[in-house]
């Protein structure tokens, strides 16, 4: 595309493309087309439908990563291993150290019942905790930004041998990493959908232009500028992309709304969907689709017109 023509790609033309009726004066120079119109509408609708789900996935995985990060980072666990006769005393000593730790809340030494409940999924509900060398567990909530996990770890090593601080980093890192990768996949899916939509609209526009070669030839002969001819095609494809994507987006949003609720689904699917202002984001899809239709068609049209003198 030449530089002068690129300058003509303005928002006003895009806006007119969206608002002017199909069959307006400028549009009538291009004969009505049947199947390419239907194909463009269907393609834009299908892509918008998929884009809604890709967007929902990207948003949900983002929330998941944030939730895992924040929930696990709100507390640490201290594990105290010692001979059975000394374990209670050492645990109390550690509790005293933790109480004096800046940024930490009130430590809670887990009772034998609480430990048994934690181990139940692996050993069953009837396991005698007392008979096993299970370490004492202390749950310590983090209440301030001045909490220094590394400093506490060093202090425990020095003052309470056998006490190990677990800030859940080993658990948290792969979970957050997995969630972030899923978010990236969602964004990549969106980009691929945009690229595929642009390709399909370009192909449909080229087919329409090729089918109207004689019309284009006549228009050039009577003094039509390239931009005038291109605009007649661009307006149609912009409208079709926007309308198709609008319908696809609404259906996609309806389908997302009908997914099982957060409480019912649980597990990985928890929160797949939109929340609050997030419901407004899919409404950008028809606008993006219109822009894709506008630029793809104009690029195809101006390139093709170069072949007609």
């Amino acid at each position: 595309m030449r530089r002068t023509e690129f300058r003509a790609l303005n928002l006003r033309a895009l806006w007119q493309g969206l608002l002017r009726r199909d069959g307006d004066k400028g549009d009538r120079i291009v004969p009505p087309t049947g199947y390419t119109a239907q194909l463009t509408l269907f393609s834009a609708g299908a892509m918008a439908f998929l884009a809604v789900f890709a967007l929902a996935l990207a948003l949900a995985t983002g929330r998941l990563a944030d939730r895992w990060s924040s929930q696990l980072a709100q507390s640490v666990t201290v594990r105290v291993s010692a001979p059975a006769s000394e374990q209670q005393a050492r645990a109390q000593a550690v509790v005293q150290i933790l109480q004096a730790t800046p940024g930490a809340g009130t430590p809670r030494l887990l009772s034998n019942e609480a430990v048994a409940e934690l181990l139940a999924p692996w050993f069953g509900p009837d396991m005698p905790v007392d008979a096993l060398p299970v370490p004492a567990l202390i749950d310590l909530p983090i209440t301030g930004a001045e909490f220094d996990a590394e400093g506490l770890r060093l202090r425990l090593e020095a003052e309470a041998p056998g006490a190990v601080l677990d800030d859940h980093t080993e658990w948290r890192r792969p979970l957050v990493s997995a969630a972030n990768r899923l978010r990236v996949l969602g964004v990549i899916s969106l980009l691929l959908i945009v690229a595929a939509s642009a390709s399909m609209i370009t192909l449909a526009a080229k087919a329409a232009l090729a089918a109207n070669g004689q019309v284009i030839r006549v228009l050039r002969l009577i003094g039509a500028r390239d931009i005038t001819i291109a605009t007649a095609f661009v307006r149609r494809f912009t409208q079709r992309a926007a309308i198709g994507a609008g319908v696809g987006t609404l259906i996609g949003m309806g389908a997302v709304a009908l997914l099982p609720g957060m409480d019912a689904a649980g597990g990985f699917l928890t929160g797949l969907g939109f929340q609050g202002w997030g419901w407004l984001l899919p409404l950008l899809i028809p606008i993006v689709a219109a822009a894709v239709g506008f630029f793809a068609t104009r690029w195809a049209a101006l390139n093709m017109l170069e072949a007609v003198r």
Binding site: I29, V215, V218, L219, L221, I222, G223, D226, R309
Partner: protein, 224 residues
């Protein structure tokens, strides 16, 4: 208006169909371009509205060198040159009136419906205004093409074998319209192989006859 200096042209880099042509088209004159079929009449006309570019020599239209024209410049030039094509070239999905008004539409000018009605009346197509081009007869198509060619009030009107498929009566009707245009001040260049038509027209208008043969252009003698 049109200046050609030693202009040559050959299709696809092949042998020159036209060679060393020198021509100056005078404003306000009626010109005939004649010669046998395949002699290059249509090619010469296509050069005049920048549908082709000379392969040698220098050619200017309205003082603009054709070689220096961009695509938008060519579009602007064509708005000053009304062309009646041999195969008329309509948009078959639009009615005659809209086809005739098409140059106004694509150049962004509003359509004056009264002026359009007058123009259709002038070419005697008022009854066919809403008809689609495929339903028109050969003569009606040529008159519609003439109406479209002059709707932007061009300085120059070119007609490529406009009477090629018409009977004598219809040919003379069309020729009358072209003569009227010339008398209103337009420069007219008509390509035709029909010498009888040229003789009949010369009885009504002072016309300059150019003969093209063997790739060269000559001023025809008094026999025409």
């Amino acid at each position: 208006m049109i200046q050609m200096e030693d202009v040559g042209f050959g299709y696809h880099g092949g042998a020159e169909l036209l060679s060393n042509m020198t021509l100056s088209l005078q404003p306000g004159m009626f010109h005939f371009l004649t010669g046998p079929s395949g002699s290059g009449k249509t090619t010469l006309l296509r050069l005049c509205y920048a549908d082709l570019l000379p392969t040698s020599g220098r050619m200017s239209v309205f003082g603009q060198d054709l070689r220096g024209l961009g695509r938008d410049d060519i579009a602007m030039l064509r708005r000053r040159v009304g062309v009646v094509h041999q195969d008329t070239q309509f948009l078959d999905h639009l009615p005659v009136a809209e086809n005739v008004a098409l140059p106004l539409n694509v150049s962004g000018q509003g359509v004056d419906m009264d002026a359009l009605r007058d123009l259709l009346g002038w070419v005697q197509l008022s009854q066919q205004a809403r008809a689609l081009p495929p339903s028109l007869s050969g003569g009606e198509r040529q008159r519609a093409a003439l109406a479209r060619a002059v709707i932007l009030s061009p300085d120059l009107v070119l007609a490529d074998e406009p009477t090629g498929n018409l009977d004598w009566e219809m040919s003379m009707r069309l020729m009358q319209l072209l003569i009227e245009l010339n008398k209103s001040g337009k420069t007219v260049l008509v390509a035709t192989h029909d010498l009888n038509l040229i003789r009949a027209a010369k009885a009504q208008v002072a016309a300059r006859v150019l003969r093209i043969a063997g790739g060269a252009l000559h001023l025809a003698g008094a026999d025409l």
